[in-house]
Amino acid sequence: MATARSRPLGFSARRSGVLERLNIPHMDGVLVGSALGLIAFSVFTLASVTQDDIPGQPFFFVIRQSAYALVGVALMLAIARVDYSRFRELRVGIYSFMVATICFVLAFGAAAGGARRWIELPYFRFQPSELAKLLLIVSLAAFVIERTRGGRDLRQTARMLALGLAPAALVFLQPDLGTGIVLMVITLAVLFIAGVPWSHFAATAGVATVVALLTFVVAPTFGVPLLRGYQEERLTSFLNPSDEDAGSSSYQINQALIAVGSGGKTGRGDQATQTDLNFLPERHTDFVFAVVGERFGFLGAAFVLSLYALLIWRALRILTLSKNLYGTLIAGGIVAMVMFQVFVNVGMNLGLMPVTGITLPLMSYGGSSVLVTFMAIGLLQSIHVQSRLASARSGRAEVPLLR
C-alpha cells in the first residue's frame, strides 16, 4: 500500500511539501478563487472611494482591509488543515465560549452609536457576534447530531431551537438586529438540513407569529416597547422609501437606489457622484454594493453577484460531498449564513429589503466580518479535504450531487 508513487487522486504519500502540508491540493480551488476574487474587488472598490474619508490617510481602509484579508486567508488555511470532526467533541466548550464572549461584550464592550458590539483589542476592534455565527454553526450542528439519536420529537426540536435562539436573543440586546437575525437563520438552516419535520417548523412559525404580534402590536399598545425606535423604523421603513429625512432608513435606501440606478449598464467610474458627494451612507460597509453598482454599473454588480453565485454553488457542492452528517450540517449552516447575508444586503442595496445592518461577506469593510467569512470558508475546505482524504483512503470515487 505504502508506495512512493502518487495516488491517482493527486496527493503524495510523502506529505512533506508545503502545499501538501497545507492540504492545498485537496481544497476546492473554485471556492478559494471566488473568495479571493471578492476580497480583491472589495479592496479595489475601497481604494477608489475612500481616499478622502480620513484626512491624510488615503489608504486607511485599503491597508486595513488587505491586512484582514491576509490574516483571513491564513486562518482559512489553518482551519482547512484541521479535521472539523474534532470540533464535535468540543461542542460544549465552543458553545459556552460563544455565549461568554457575547455576554462579555454586553457587559464591558465598547459602545458606539448606542450599541455595545465590540471588544477593543490592540490594532483591532473585535466583534464577538460575528464570530458567534461560526461558533453557533459548529456547536449547534454537533448538538443536533447528538440529539437526533434520541429521536426526532418536537421537544428535541424545541431544545435545539432554544440553543440557537439564546445567543440570537443576547445579540439582539446589544442591540445588533442584523446579526441576531443571521443567528436565527443559521439555527433554522441547521435544523432544516438535519431533517427536522416540516410540522416542527410550522409549529415554530406559529410561535414566532404570536411573539411578533406581542412585540409589534400588543406590547406597544400597553406601552411596553420591546424594540428600540430605530429598529422598528428600520424594519418598516422600506415599505415607504419616499421619506426624505436625512439619516432615516428610507433615506438611505432611496440614496442606494439612486446610486445603483445612476450606474446604468457600465457604471459612472469617477463620475460616481452619489458616492463622492456622500449621499450614499455607510458606503464602505453596508452599502458597498451600491458603490459597486454606481461605479461599475450592471457589469460590476453582475460580476460581484456571479462571484457569490460561484461561492455558494461550491459551498452547496461541498455540503453534498461531506463524509459525515456533521460536515453536511456545518456546510449547510455556512451556506445559509452566506446566502442570507448576501441576499439581504444586496436586497437592501436594491430596495428589496429593509435596512438591517447585515454586512456583505468579503465585500463590506470590517475585520470581524472578513476574518469570520474566511474562517467559514476554511471550515468548508476542511470538509472538502476530509472527504477527499476519506474517499482516497476507502478508494471510493467521489460522486457529488452537484458537479
Binding site: F192, I193, G195, E244, D245, A246, Q255, L257, I258, A259, V260, G261, S262, G263, G264, K265, R268, T273, Q274, L277, N278, F279, G293, G297, F298, A301, A302, L305, A309, I312, W313, L316, L319, T320, T328, G332, V335, A336, M339, F343, V346, G347, L350, G351, L352, L401, L402
Partner: protein
Amino acid sequence: MRLIDRRLGLLLFVFLLLFSVVFARAAWLQGVRGGSLRADAHSQQTETVTVPGQRGRVLDRTGKVLAVSEDAASIIATPYQVKHPGKVAERLAPLLDLPASDLNDLLDDPDSGFAYLAHKLDVRTADRIEQMGIVGISTLPDSRRIYPQGELAAPVIGAVGTDNQALTGLEKSENDTLGGSDGEEEIVRDALGAPLRTETQTQSAQGQDIRLTIDSAIQDKTEEALSAAGEAYAAKGATAVVMDPNSGDVLALANWPSFDPSELSNATSEELGNRATGYTYEPGSTFKAFTVAAALEDKKVTPSTSFDLPSTIKVADRVIEESHARPPVTLTTAEILAQSSNVGAVTIGLEEGSERFDHWIREFGFGEPTGIRYPAEEQGIVPAIDDYSGSTMGNLPIGQGLSVTPIQMAAAYSAIANGGTLRTPRLVSQVDGERIERDDGHRILHRSTATGLQAMLEGVLEPGGTASEVSVPGYTLAGKTGTAQIAENGTYSDTGYVANFVGFAPAEDPKLLVAVIVDEPQYAHTGGEVAAPVFGQIASFTLPYLGISPE
C-alpha cells in the same frame, strides 16, 4: 430520494430563485430605470441658481447717479439640515436684523427643504454669515437697487421689486436698456448641502445706463417748494413740471406726496404714480391763454381789441359769471387775460367759433399724449366737436369741460414761450449709449402771436394781475393762474379746487417754464395764492442756477 437530498434540492431552488430575483432587480434598476435615477441623482446633488445681471444706472443730465445696482446676497436655509435651530436663529438674528423668534419659526421645520431668511443683504454681512459655516445655511447671489439721492424723483424713476423686476416708472419702461440678463450657475452640493464647486451655465450680463434730462439740483428745489405748498395747504396731491421751453427738455418732474424707494412696501399706488403724466384735471383759467392765442392767430382779435363786457354772459342754458362779481366793464384782450375774465374769454371764444376753437386746442396738442418717453401717459379728454352742446362754447374757452395733463400744459405753454414751436418734451436723453435727439417740433403759432401772448402773460404778475404777489427780483415773469372747481357728479364742487399756474421767465426771452398743479388745497384755493408762489420759488433758484443773469 434521501430526505437530505430533498432538503438540499429545496435549498438549491431557493438559492437560484433569490439569485434570479436579485439579478433581475439589478438589471431593472440599472438597465431600465438608470436614466431617471441618474436624473434624480443630478437633481439632488446640484442646484441651479440664478445670478442676477445687474441693472444699468439711471443718471441725471449732469451724470449724477439717481439709481444704481450693487451686489447683494440672499440668505437661504435648508431647515432640515439645521441642527440647532434655536441657536442658529440667535446667531443670525443680529446680522439679519430680524427677531430670533421669526428665524426660529423658519428654521425649526424638519419637513422643509428650503426657506429664504433674508433678501438683498449687503455683501459684507453675507460673507460673515458664509464664514460661520453653519450647516444648512447658505447664500445666493442677489443684486439690489440703490437710490443715492434718496426720494429724489422717485415716482419718475419708478421702482423694482424683490426679484429686481421692473415695476413702475422709467425702471419699467426702459427695462430693455436697464435690465441685465440673468445668468445661471449650477452649484454641486454634497449630502450635507456644503457647496463643492460652481459651474456657470449661462453668463449674466449687466444692463445699460439711461440718462435723463432732469437736473438733480432743480429737481431737488422743485420738490422742496412743491412739498412745502402741499403740506401748507394740506393738499390731496401736487405736481410740478420744469422745462426748458426752447428745447423741450424736462429739467424737473416733481410729485407730492412721493415715496421712499428703499421702503417700497410702504408706498401707496397714488404715491407711486407720476402725476405729471398720469393725472388729468380741468385746467380752468390757465387754458384762457390758448383761447386768446387762437383768436390772435386767426386775427379775430389783437392784444388791444376792446370788449364791452357785461357782468355775466349767457350761453344757451348756462350763465357764466366772473369769479368776483363786477359791474359791466370794458377790457382789452390783454386785460381779459391779466384779470382772467371768464366773460371776456367766453366772448373771445364765441367770436372764434367752435370749429376754429376745436382746431386750435388740438393744434396745441390737447386730447393726445405728448409722446414724452414715459409709460402710461394720459391723454386727457377733449370733447369731439360733434358732441358739443349749446353751452360747450361757454365752458371750453375758460378751461372747463375738458381735461388735460400737466405735461400737456407745460408743452403747450412752451410753444408760446419759445416763439411758436410745439415740441414733444424730452425726459430721457440717452439710452443704451445712444443719444435721444430733441424733437424738432413744428411751428403752430407765428412768432408775433407768441411774443404778443408773452407780453400779455407778463400782465398776470404785474399789479392788477391774478398773481401780482409773485416776483423774482431782477427778472420779469410771465404766466397764467388757474383755479378750477372740481367736477363732481356732473356739477362743480364749491369746496374742491385745482389751483394751478403755468409760468415762464425771463418774460422777453423765456429760458425756464414751470407748470404747478395743486390738487384740492385747503385754507386757500386760487392758483395765484397756492400755485404761483411755488413757481416763484422754483424760478428764483433756477434762473441764476441756469446762468441767466438778471436784467
